[in-house]
């Protein structure tokens, strides 16, 4: 059952990912991407990582994608451009996709360890409580540090888009 579910979800993930890329209209891409994110959230749920799944939805679908959509709307990009894309580019892209996918997959197949029994610790490791503890104890410093990251990006976004007042 779970296996089937995995395959279905995987198919959706990959398909929507492909559609994101192949759609000519950026709006469509965005919508397919949201679908893709949902399917990934589905994977998370399969792992029983509910908190993560929810955060994922909120952050990606709720924040990032909305941001992108806003931008698209703002720039009025909901039309099909990219007419000047050469055949060479397409072929090169397709070829390199095939190549890199093949190479990576082959490498992983080759590096496949024989695993008969998966570890079951029996302990809770992914509830909100545990994650919170880990995040705010062990990973406190990176957590704080991430704030610096966000601060930088905030300053950056402001810096790049703010209008200058020469005389101030």
């Amino acid at each position: 059952m779970l296996t089937t579910l995995f395959y279905i979800l995987s198919a959706i993930t990959l398909a929507t990912a492909f559609l994101t890329i192949l759609s000519k209209n950026p709006i469509h891409s965005a919508i397919y991407l949201v679908l893709c994110f949902f399917s990934i959230a589905g994977h998370y749920l399969m792992f029983n990582a509910q908190f993560l799944a929810i955060v994922h939805i909120i952050v990606y679908s709720g924040a990032i994608m909305i941001l992108m959509l806003f931008t698209i709307m703002l720039m009025n990009l909901n039309k099909e451009d990219e007419q000047n894309k050469s055949a060479l580019t397409r072929i090169a892209a397709v070829l390199s996709f095939c190549l890199v996918a093949f190479v990576l997959l082959a490498t992983f197949v080759k590096a496949q360890p024989v695993i008969n029994e998966y570890k079951v610790s029996g302990q809770d490791y992914q509830s909100i409580k545990v994650l919170g503890q880990v995040l705010l104890n062990e990973y406190m410093v990176p957590f704080e540090f991430a704030s610096v990251l966000l601060l930088v990006s905030m300053i950056g976004a402001v810096l790049l888009s703010k209008k200058e007042h020469i005389n101030s």
């Binding site: 580019t89 090169a92 892209a93 390199s96 190549l99 190479v103 490498t107 080759k110 590096a111």
Partner: protein, 627 residues
């Protein structure tokens, strides 16, 4: 005391040189001449005293100053040796040198650079004394190259004329070819004997204290002989000497007749013990000497320039000396050197006197009849001519006859060659005499008006030299040779004294008859027929070949000089370009790659990412998949 005197002997001319160089401009011409002459005269005086001293004590005077060079196996010192041989040489170097200085005072009187002339002349004497006095080969080499330098300076004395400069350069370079041989010879000697001192070398040979490889010794002797060839103008390095006549006539007399060119003979005589051990080389020397003598004489037959004739005659006479050396008859060679110095110096100075009178004209075709105006010159010239032609009782007869006699005993073909050369000598010398002094004057009226006997300063040396040329033979009369006895200590193997038997008298007679034939021929042609040599363009046939000196200069140019220039052009235009092209081509290649690489950096993110992905793929493939 000896040391100081020896240094005085050596440095007197050098001091003269310095005075003339540094203050010459301010001195009057006569004064610099007097200073120069006095400097050499001092040397002569000192030489004389040493000569007398050594003649009586029979002990060589040795002077050791200080260490000069240091080599692994031996040291070379600044040291001098005044023994019989060197003193003999010094006697006529300084003696004739003094006379020629005297002569020059008058001869060069009008030249603006007279102080320089005397400076160079003094310098020459200084180097010549060094050459002769040194007690080892390297000191000799200093003198050897030094006289070459002075020769260069004096040949090119009238430096505004580039032809003269060419002649000077040619003399120097040809000498240097010989010098290289000399140098190589010195190397081998040094290597073999672990010393360059004459006495050490002699000791080693005489005691046999260590083994000397005969092959190497022969090579050394050969190399030294090459050196001698250069300096003494033997085949194949003789062509500079006739050209050297570009210099003022006193120079020709002093350097290119009497002293410098005999340095080769001096060197071989000095090292007679070495050459004795190399009979093959001695053979070569004899043959080269004989052939040179013949060839030079034959060229001399048709030359029209009065000095050129004398120059070829010098070469020819030097050839005879080498013939003697090659036969091991060192004393005889030395004897001929001395007599030759007398009469040839006299001849040159005489010709100088003539040229002086002719205002620089040297072509005999435009002379004639000078006998009447220039009595002293004529008489001295005649005596010398007789001497060189080998007529008794003049000096040349004895020395030349001894050489031919020795040749006859050792090697008949060489005797034939030598005799033919002697006959030719008699012919062309009398040709010279007749053309210059007899018949009528053939020059311009202008010249004729100014014809005059030279002043006393010029004629005085002529007279002295003529006397010497006349009686000089006395120092080594057949059968009773003072010279041989005197030189005995420095020569290890003595020429066998020919018992004066019938053969010897026969030979003498033959020689005299030969000389007379030569004179007769000249008389027949130039007095009887009043022939005057043809103009250059009219000379044909073998005479033309002779007149053009067998085209040796041209052959040398074609075979050596031109190829060197061609090689130079090749190096300059091909190899240099190729080498730098290759090396700097690498730099160009880098630049080209850089320029080409720019197309790869095409600004497209797509392409950059594509390269990125390809990079990932290739790295992963290489690390994980390529096994």
């Amino acid at each position: 005391m000896d040391t100081k005197l020896a240094l005085l002997l050596l440095f007197a001319p050098f001091i003269g040189f310095l005075i003339n160089v540094f203050t010459g401009k301010k001195l009057s011409g006569n004064l610099s001449g007097i200073i120069g002459t006095a400097a050499v005269a001092v040397s002569f005086a000192v030489t004389l005293s040493f000569f007398l001293q050594v003649s009586s004590t029979k002990e060589a005077v040795m002077v050791d100053l200080f260490q000069w060079m240091k080599l692994a196996n031996f040291d070379v010192h600044f040291a001098f040796q005044l023994d019989q041989l060197s003193l003999l040489w010094l006697m006529f170097v300084t003696g004739i040198g003094t006379l020629i200085h005297v002569y020059s005072i008058s001869y060069m009187h009008d030249d603006e650079n007279i102080h320089k002339f005397f400076a160079y002349l003094n310098l020459f004497v200084f180097f010549m004394i060094t050459l002769v006095m040194g007690n080892n080969l390297l000191i000799m080499f200093i003198g050897w190259e030094g006289v070459g330098l002075c020769s260069y300076l004096l040949i090119g004395f009238w430096y505004k004329n580039q032809d003269y400069n060419d002649a000077a350069k040619k003399a120097f370079i040809m000498n240097r070819i010989g010098d290289l041989g000399f140098l190589i010879g010195i190397f081998i000697i040094g290597y073999l004997f672990h010393s360059l001192d004459y006495t050490d070398i002699r000791t080693v040979i005489e005691t046999g204290s260590h083994h000397i490889d005969p092959t190497w010794l022969s090579i050394a002797a050969l190399c030294l002989f090459i050196g001698a060839c250069g300096k003494s103008a033997q085949i194949p390095l003789y062509t500079w000497l006739p050209d050297a006549m570009a210099g003022p006539t006193p120079v020709s007399a002093l350097i290119h007749a009497a002293t410098m060119v005999t340095a080769g003979i001096f060197m071989i005589t000095r090292l007679n013990y070495v050459f004795d051990l190399a009979p093959e080389v001695q053979n070569i020397i004899a043959i080269v000497g004989a052939v040179t003598s013949l060839i030079a004489a034959s060229i001399g037959l048709v030359q029209n320039d009065i000095k050129k004739v004398l120059a070829y005659s010098t070469v020819s006479q030097l050839g005879l000396m080498f013939l003697a050396l090659g036969l091991g008859a060192y004393e005889i060679a030395v004897f001929h050197v001395i007599t030759h110095a007398f009469f040839k110096a006299c001849l040159f100075l005489g010709s100088g006197s003539v040229i002086h009178a002719m205002h620089g004209e040297q072509d005999m075709r435009y002379m004639g009849g000078l006998r009447k105006v220039m009595k002293v010159t004529f008489i001295t010239f005649l005596i010398s001519t007789l001497a060189i032609s080998g007529l008794p009782p003049f000096a040349g007869f004895f020395s030349k006859d001894e050489i031919l006699m020795t040749a006859f005993h050792h090697n008949k073909p060489l005797w034939v060659i030598g005799s033919v050369a002697s006959i030719m000598t008699a012919f062309y010398m009398f040709r010279l005499l007749y053309l210059t002094f007899y018949k009528d004057f053939r020059g311009t009226e202008e010249q004729k008006k100014h014809l005059h006997e030279s002043p006393g300063l010029i004629t005085f040396p002529l007279i002295v030299l003529a006397i010497l040329a006349a009686v000089g033979g006395a120092i080594s009369l057949p059968g009773n040779s003072w010279l041989n006895e005197y030189l005995a200590p420095v020569i290890t193997r003595h020429a066998e004294h020919h018992h004066m038997g019938t053969t010897e008298y026969m030979l003498m007679a033959v020689a005299i008859v030969g000389a007379l034939i030569g004179i007769g021929l000249a008389y027949a042609k130039y007095i009887k027929q009043s022939a005057v040599p043809a103009q250059d363009s009219e000379i044909t046939g073998f005479a033309k070949v002779l007149y053009n000196k067998f085209y040796v200069d041209e052959i040398y140019t074609a075979l050596i000089v031109k190829p060197i220039y061609a090689l130079g052009s090749f190096f300059k235009n091909v190899t240099e370009v190729a080498i730098s092209g290759f090396i700097f081509g690498l730099g160009k290649l880098a630049n080209v790659l850089g320029a080409e690489g720019k197309t790869l950096q095409n600004g497209s993110i797509g392409f950059y990412l594509f390269a990125f992905v390809l990079g990932i793929c290739s790295i992963i493939v290489y690390i994980f998949l390529a096994k």
